[in-house]
């Protein structure tokens, strides 16, 4: 023990200090490692491309469950525990929830503004709060009508141009094949319904200096009443969409069309491959044929989560992922949605005919839809809870308790309550 002289101890301490400062001053012993959580199919191709071309910054991708199915729970846990990823897939509607938990890094501090003009403005604004920029937009989800051209031909139908036409077509299909339906109203997927309300001109939320919530407005009530009517007349199925049972029905030709998002193409291709070549895409039905409006389902961003040790590099990756031409083509192959990067449609993988859709240049329809989206839409921090409230209400309606229209009032009071429970101030429309 006595051999541990002061000199030795001092030398040891000096070595340790050097090592410590070595870590601090950026003398790295290897490339920077970033973790990225996402559920976009095929995103690994883009990540691999980045890793090949950027040896100094390596990104490790974890394919997680979709946000609403548990992915966001994991992200919130991770941020709270300090063990979360550097980057994550955060849909536009979830960004305010993350903001409330101070879960996102303000990229303005790392110079993200210089990239602003590379992106579609309304999608960029989804990540802006109080002068900061908290997410790099990735893609949106313009909607259109996917329909089985072969079955429509068999039943003597044209793709419906208005919602009135859609209802008529629904009746024809049911009459010609009692086991088939024109489509389904998914009771536990209220994001789809929200998109339709968005198309009809509803503005549920505002985020100026205070939050505002107005769900039970005339436009939304019109949409809810419409689907209530179709449900009561048994003209639509009420099974949940985008799950095994629905894919089976699609596989068997019992679901004949789908008002779905652009990123639904990958889902159809992957889960109902036997229907290849039989689908076409048409613009979604309109309320007013003179004023075309489109719906948007989803849309997500790449965000840098609080606790990341390398926010600058993470930001650079996020921007590259969503603007680089090669990356975008890879993402398109995987079916990630409608690019948030401006002016990339021409010449991209979207800009070509597709055999799954019988050779149709189907993305032209989505491009047109994208131009008609009402871009003033905002989200509130308690959207997740609202989605669940609507799901409960719609599921109840489908099993005989209540109606879609009746759910809206419940959702409005629940949403206001959720916001106040979080300590937030909410402005609501004056009572009728």
């Amino acid at each position: 023990m006595r051999r541990l002289s002061v000199r030795r101890v001092a030398a040891l301490l000096v070595v340790l200090a050097l090592l410590a400062t070595g870590c601090g001053t950026g003398r790295r012993t290897g490339p920077i490692q970033l973790t990225f959580w996402s559920w976009v199919p095929g995103i690994d191709k883009s990540v691999n491309l980045w890793n090949r071309t950027h040896p100094g910054v390596q990104v490790h991708l974890d394919q997680v469950t979709a946000g609403i199915d548990g992915g966001y729970a994991k992200m919130f846990s991770g941020v709270r525990a300090g063990s979360g990823p550097d980057l994550a897939q955060v849909e536009y509607w979830a960004i305010p929830a993350f903001m409330l938990e101070h879960g996102l890094v303000d990229l303005n501090r790392y110079g993200v503004r210089k990239y602003q003009d590379r992106f579609v403005p309304w999608q960029w604004h989804q990540g802006e709060f109080n002068g900061g920029v908290y997410a790099v937009p990735q893609a949106s989800g313009p909607m259109a009508l996917y329909y089985r051209a072969d079955l429509f031909k068999k039943y003597g139908l044209q793709p419906p141009k208005t919602w009135a036409d859609y209802a008529k077509a629904a009746a024809v299909i049911k009459q010609k094949d009692p086991t088939a339906r024109i489509g389904t109203f998914p009771p536990a997927n209220s994001q789809w319904f929200i998109a339709l309300a968005w198309q009809a001109g509803a503005h549920w939320f505002g985020a100026t200096d205070k939050w505002s919530v107005n769900i039970d407005d005339p436009a939304t009530r019109k949409v809810a009443a419409y689907w209530d009517d179709l449900r009561r007349r048994d003209l639509i199925s009420t099974m949940q969409d985008v799950q095994t049972g629905w894919y089976k029905a699609v596989h068997d030709g019992k679901i004949v069309s789908w008002v779905g998002p652009q990123w639904g193409d990958a889902l159809l291709k992957g889960n109902a491959p036997n229907t290849a070549g039989k689908w076409r895409v048409a613009p979604m039905p309109q309320w007013d044929p003179e004023h075309e409006t489109a719906a948007n389902w989803g849309g997500s961003s790449t965000a840098v989560l609080r606790g990341s040790d390398h926010p600058t590099e993470a930001m650079e990756f996020a921007v590259w992922l969503n603007t680089d031409r090669h990356s975008i083509n890879d993402l398109i192959e995987g079916g990630y949605g409608w690019p948030a990067a401006a002016n990339v449609f021409k010449g991209s993988a979207l800009d070509r005919p597709d055999p799954f859709f019988g050779g149709q240049r189907y993305n032209d329809v989505f491009a047109d839809a994208d131009r008609h989206i009402d871009t003033r839409w905002r989200w509130i921090p308690t959207t997740m809870s609202l989605i669940d409230t609507l799901n409960s209400g719609f599921t109840g309606a489908v099993t005989g308790n209540g109606s879609f229209a009746g759910t809206l009032g419940t959702a409005q009071s629940a949403a206001v309550r959720d916001m106040r429970r979080k300590g937030l101030q909410v402005v609501t429309p004056p009572e009728r």
């Binding site: 903001m99 409330l100 049972g245 799901n391 099993t399």
Partner: protein, 297 residues
Amino acid sequence: MRSRRTPWLFLAPFAVLFLAFFVVPIGYAIWQSFIGVRRTGALGLGGSQTTFAGLRNYADALAQTAFVPSVLRILLFGVVVVPVMIIAATALALLLDAASARWPRFFRTAYFLPYGIPGVLASIIWTFLYLPGMSPILEVFGWFGIQAEPLAGDGVLWAIANITIWEFAGYNMLVVVAQLQAVPAELYDAARVDGANAWHMVWRIKFPLIRPAVVLTTVFTIIGTIQLFSEPIVLKRSAPAITNDYTPNISAYNQAFLYNNYGLAAAEAVLLALVAFVLSFGFLRLVGRGGRAGGAR
């Protein structure tokens, strides 16, 4: 010589961990249930502070959320599943114990098998078995003209009940069987000498003697059904009726991890624990603690 510290030394490892992972979390949960949050800044995004919320979280849980319906749902579930499970387990045990049963070992093993399959795995398998077109059971039903859709609508609660019974009936049966086999044969002989017939054997001898086992399994089944979580979570994607507050545990989990309402989640967890306590103690009181395994009679 034995010192006074000896028992504590043996007790210590368990006690420390018990304190850390049982007592402290319960205390933490109770503390958390009295916490609220206050926000500052535009849109409330400036800063947040924790505040004392009194009983507001409890009032919230009881009045404003779907928590109470979820508790009622789980009670309904329990009221049906517990008796069915116990009756099935007892009936199977008695059948196996009957002199006329052939190949008792094979049957016992077959019934016990599902117990070794974790709940999540069982639910994954049954999810497929509930999907029309993928399920051999539904296919066979179809031959008889029965079009069943177990996952559609509110009937899914009984689809979950089926999974629970499938998983645990065999285990509960084994507990009863074990108790039955411990009955000394002389008891039966004596009864037969006294003129008892087969029915008397069952009612007067077997039933009373398996009582402790039945009570034990009932208490555990009650506790288990209160905590229902994995089975509905697995079925959730294919069964729209399973909402994010379908059972109390799912509700508490979502409040904490999806909506980040920690105080409310803690209040729900505490309320759930109280319900479990009341039910378990209530039941034990009801059967007069005569079922305490190992208790002297």
